[in-house]
Amino acid sequence: MKILLTIIIDLFFATGGFFALAGVIGIIRMPDSYCRMQSSTNTATLGTICVLIGVSLYGFFILNSVAIGVKPIVISLFILFSNPVASHSIAKAAKKCGVFMLNKSRVDEYGRDNPQ
């Protein structure tokens, strides 16, 4: 039983690490500011929340401590609520500053609806 639980926790950690690495590589390699924002959101949601769920299972069932079990869930709920707000506000600020947008990926509905 404990071996099965350890394997599940390791799978959560591996998924989180993979998505965090993919997000970092995307932030470095993407050609555009908006694509970089998308990679940042990828890291913050999937990478962080998978690792936090793994830590929560580890704290509940292996360490037998409720404090280490509950706090990662609180942190992941907070990230789940706060990250879209931050991402939206930074994207809106980027659009208002007139950050360079690639011609290839141009679907500019905000600029169409709110002409300057």
Binding site: I28, V51, V55, S82, K96
Partner: protein, 68 residues
């Protein structure tokens, strides 16, 4: 690897996004260390670091928008 983007980024937005990602990875490392060393205080510190990162991102974006 992300510090490269913070140092290079062509616009301030890229630097803010890379800083936000550094913040969330710092939260993950703090939670993992707190679980390994069996101390609950690191999880509180991670919660506060995540909250400060969110507030700083929103404040910088409001400043870039020109409404601060």
């Amino acid at each position: 690897m992300l510090i490269y983007r913070v140092a290079k980024g062509p616009h301030a937005v890229d630097r803010v996004v890379a800083g936000d990602t550094i913040d969330s990875i710092t939260v993950v490392i703090m939670v993992l260390y707190g679980a390994i060393s069996n101390r609950g205080i690191y999880l509180d510190i991670a919660l506060i670091v995540s909250l400060l990162g969110f507030i700083s991102t929103v404040a910088i974006s409001k400043y870039l928008e020109g409404r601060l």
